[in-house]
């Protein structure tokens, strides 16, 4: 009986979404067309493709699974409670992890390669730091956060075949300003009655963040990731996921993000959202210099049907942004609904082509397998629009030798206005930071009054072998500026056994993260036409809005600021990881010492001991025979 209603619900939703999408542009932009999800579980699969300026092709797979629950304000007990009694689409292994470690929000990203902001703009994926990044908001009601975090890292390490268990106390930090929770928690404080009890009602949550910059990412990590999908890689968009092609790219990143979200404007229906994403940058032009590509060429696989369990199944193609020469390229097939634009201002108008696999593949069997090809006149675009990301940052080491060093961070603000940013840097304990050497340069000139730039500073000094150093700054970056920080450090002598097997390679230092609020229209990929990202972003904005109307006592000024914030996109910019070489001992030294000592003992001590303990006597020639005889008998 339950199953039947579930199926009916799913059916009605899919038909609703189909009608919404077939209505084309009007439906896409109209706010009231947003489907309100009330199904117990739902699954969406989406793929965004974007040809980049340097001839690479950016692909972003996004699989969103919702597990829903109706929760009113009185019974809000956090995301992970009471949800996991039955599983259809939501992966059980993730559900159990969330449940047993009291996790409210979980973000895990595996990345290989470096994201080139200058060439590629901003990615859709929120995290692109090289290596593995794990952060989670844990329920701290039982004061078990540290135990739970340890359990969580170990369990995820087992699940994803990665060395996540290396994220221990010496790496874990608790950022104070960055990595705020992304779920919609605050909505249950809407009614005045609930608002008064906020303190008692809100679960105490704690943030834990850790990253492993040197972690490899390969097939063994992708295998368990694919197993979390309802259709695995048997059908739907996920059937394109072939490890041999995905790892033969300039950039590869895969992630899972779990957060609670609201399913309707009033947030009476809450659900837990699991977003799985794979982001790659294919180097199309590597072999013959041609910018032409086909989907089969990129993935060596085909989509024959949409995942039958998916509510929506879409491929979104960002059409290339060219300047004067229109129609330099040929796109086959062109979507039946035609292309339309997203973005509000002239700066960031982006034409996209949306292919709905549910309708396309089912109504036109001739179009199977699904195929896209994009060909340029003369294999290359004549000119492209340059990308200018609003904020770009670089971090590097200064100094030389194995004793001291320095760290320099350059942040470029290309915006026309001042930008608020939060800088987070974690340095391992074996780099001893000297905060008094911290200095700031603005456009190449040292400034004395740091207050203008650094509005808040949070610094946690490292403790040897137990915690890293954390530097977190709230910055106000002037318009069109380059701000440079530098700080000096000492390198610590590690113990003989603390070095990794490949000690001479050096030690990796993870990315610094800049969290920044950028106006939505700045040369970024942004939500990239992903319906679900957009829906939740707008819903979030409207929730903030509705909260603002209630907070009348806040005053006009605060309202204006908050209103502005709601029109901004919060993104994170990652710097490069760094490699630092510490003084490495001569690992064969103990062996040398032993052999040398033994030689000395054997040669000198032995002979001298011999000399000193022997009794030398002059033997009479007569008695010599007797002595000889005795010696033989001994």
């Amino acid at each position: 009986m339950l199953l039947l209603t579930g199926a009916l619900l799913a059916l009605s939703i899919s038909s609703a979404s189909v009608s919404a999408s077939s209505a084309g542009q009007e439906a896409f932009t109209a706010k009231d067309a947003i489907p309100i999800l009330k199904a117990p579980e739902a699954f969406h699969e989406e793929l965004v493709l974007k040809p980049l300026n340097d001839g690479s092709v950016y692909s972003h797979f996004q699989f969103t699974t919702h597990i829903g629950t109706v929760m009113d304000e009185e019974h809000f007990e956090g995301a992970a409670s009471n949800l996991f009694t039955h599983y259809n689409l939501f992966p059980r292994s993730i559900g159990q992890i969330l449940h047993s470690f009291d996790v409210e929000e979980l973000h895990l990203t595996f990345t290989q390669g470096r994201w080139h902001y200058g060439d590629w703009g901003y990615p859709i994926a929120p995290s692109v730091g090289t290596g593995v990044e794990l952060w989670a908001w844990l329920n701290d009601e039982n004061k078990q956060t540290d135990t739970n975090w340890k359990g969580l890292t170990n369990t995820l390490s087992g699940l994803f075949c990665a060395s996540l268990n290396f994220i221990d106390d010496t790496i874990t930090i608790e950022p104070k300003l960055s990595f705020r929770n992304e779920g919609l928690y605050n909505v249950h404080t809407r009614s005045p009655a609930a608002k008064n009890n906020t303190e008692s009602r809100t679960n105490p949550r704690k943030l834990r963040y850790g990253s492993l910059p040197h972690e490899n990412v390969c097939t063994e990590n992708l295998t368990p990731w694919i197993k979390l999908l309802p259709c695995k890689n048997k059908s739907g968009i996920a059937s394109l996921l072939k490890s041999h092609k995905l790892f033969d790219t300039r950039f590869y990143s895969m992630a899972i993000h779990v957060r609670p979200v609201c399913e309707d404007e009033l947030c009476s229906v809450k659900s837990l959202e699991l977003v799985q994403s794979v982001t790659t940058v294919f180097d199309v032009a590597r072999h013959d210099g041609s910018y032409d590509w086909t989907m089969t060429g990129l993935f060596e696989r085909e989509i024959t049907q949409a995942c039958p369990l998916a509510t929506t199944s879409k491929v979104v193609l960002h059409l290339p942004q060219t300047t004067e020469y229109r129609n330099q390229y040929q796109l086959v097939p062109f979507p039946p609904q035609g292309a339309y634009s997203i973005g509000s201002t002239q700066d960031n108008i982006q034409e996209i082509a949306v292919y709905d696999l549910k309708t396309d593949l089912e109504t036109h069997p001739a179009s199977t397998p699904f195929q896209i090809s994009l060909r340029w006149e003369n294999s290359r675009p004549k000119s492209v629009l340059p990308i200018s990301p609003g904020i770009v940052a670089h971090r590097y080491f200064t100094g030389y030798g194995q004793e001291h060093g320095g760290l320099a961070i350059e942040i470029h603000n290309n915006n026309e206005q001042d930008v608020e940013a939060i800088y987070l840097d974690t340095l391992p304990w074996y780099l001893k930071l000297y905060l008094h050497t911290f200095s700031i340069q603005l456009n190449g000139k040292t400034i004395d009054n740091q207050r203008d730039l650094v509005q808040k500073m949070y610094y946690q000094p490292a403790v040897d072998r137990s915690r890293p150093a954390v530097l977190e700054l709230a910055l106000r970056l002037p318009a069109k500026s380059m701000v440079k920080f530098s700080v000096s450090f000492d390198k610590v002598f590690l113990k003989y056994t603390e070095h990794p097997p490949d000690a001479n390679r050096g030690f990796d230092v993870g990315c610094a993260v800049i969290t920044v609020q950028l106006p939505r229209e700045r040369g970024q990929i942004g939500y990239g036409g992903l319906d679900h990202l957009r829906i939740y972003q707008e819903r979030e904005a409207s929730l903030v809005q509705s909260r603002l109307t209630m907070d009348e006592d806040d005053g006009d000024e605060a309202q204006v600021i908050k209103r502005q914030e709601s029109e901004m996109d919060r993104i994170r910019v990652y710097t490069e990881t760094l490699l630092v070489s510490l003084p490495t001992p001569d690992f064969s030294m103990p062996y040398n010492v032993i052999t040398l000592t033994c030689t000395v003992i054997a040669l000198f001590f032995g002979s001298i001991f011999n000399l000193m303990t022997r009794n030398f006597e002059v033997v009479e020639p007569k008695g010599a025979k007797d002595a000889k005889g005795k010696g033989k008998s001994d």
Binding site: T155, G158, S163, F166
Partner: protein, 398 residues
Amino acid sequence: MRPGTILKYLVASVCIASTLAISVSTNTDDVEGFFAKSKSGHTNNWAVLVCTSRFWFNYRHIANALSMYRTVKRLGIPDSNIIMMLADDVACNPRNIFPATVYNNKGRHLDLYGENVEVDYRGYEVTVENFIRLLTGRVAKDTPRSKRLLTDDQSNILVYMTGHGGEEFLKFQDAEEISAYDLGDAFQQMYEKKRYNEILFMIDTCQANTMYTKIHSPNVLATGSSKLAESSYSHHGDPDIGVAVIDRFTYYVLELLEKVDQNSKATIKDLFDTYDYNLMHSTPGVRDDLFKRPLDQVLLTDFFGNVQNVELTEPKDQSSVQTEDEPTTQEETEPTFVEPSGKENHSATLDTQQDDASTQDHTFEIGDPTQSQTYRFAAFAALSIAMAGALAAGSSFV
């Protein structure tokens, strides 16, 4: 539920139970014959495959371990029963011109990495400490299942190691080494903790045969690639990959294993008979003095495959039956069934006991051949009644 229906179901279940019991009492030998209890007495198979070498030029060692992985997986051991330790990631190494692949032949017909591979310990996690902890089960509390060797006294374990070694040692990542004594002690501890039924220890490294000289635990069969003062050599290189892709010993072992399938009757002796100095350029060794069975009766699939044997015992059913029939006797019988005497010792040394005990064994306990026929009849009848009753109750609710 009306009393009438209950009565009806009860009568039906008694009838079913009695017919079943009669058939069981007459056909026990057939049942046991059907399940074909293995000669080794094992009911589950595990594999621990270790590559201890880091760095790209040791590609062949990772290929060795992955070749074994592929073989045991092909012969039926699931990923959950395979513990893979790879000290480096050559598949996604930037030097690998065929990303996400590992080949063990320059023909490159078969990608060992494939689309479905699980590596349990990798990179810096491959240490002597972790290896010995894995074998002896003394792992940290939070260790996930995939990183534990959840074996019992009916597990046959294949332990395959490859890397660079010397006389009575094997290097781990050029940073530390495991000695033959460490290995011998680890196996002895496993024996004392009843963590295995039989072990096949196979090692491909220089002077490999010296590594098994210090093992002194029963039921361990060992083989190595080369004797004291002899090196083990690589088989051939791939000019495109740029390094040697497999070692000789493993290459020729695989040559035979490739012909083996799950139903194969090939024995360990057949494998050892293929050892040839002219092919391997080293003298492979075999140590069978600790092993009780004759080698020509030990199937290769006893170690490389996963043959699910079913053992018929009934200690736990017995106690549950008695609780139903005569609740008063439960107190008397319980202590004798709950804890075998060796068990306390076991749990004291193992801090992860709770996982090990219940979940891992594939033993399907139906009946014990040592029990008398009449007793078994009673037990089975009662069990069937209980089951039928549950079925009836369940169906009536629906």
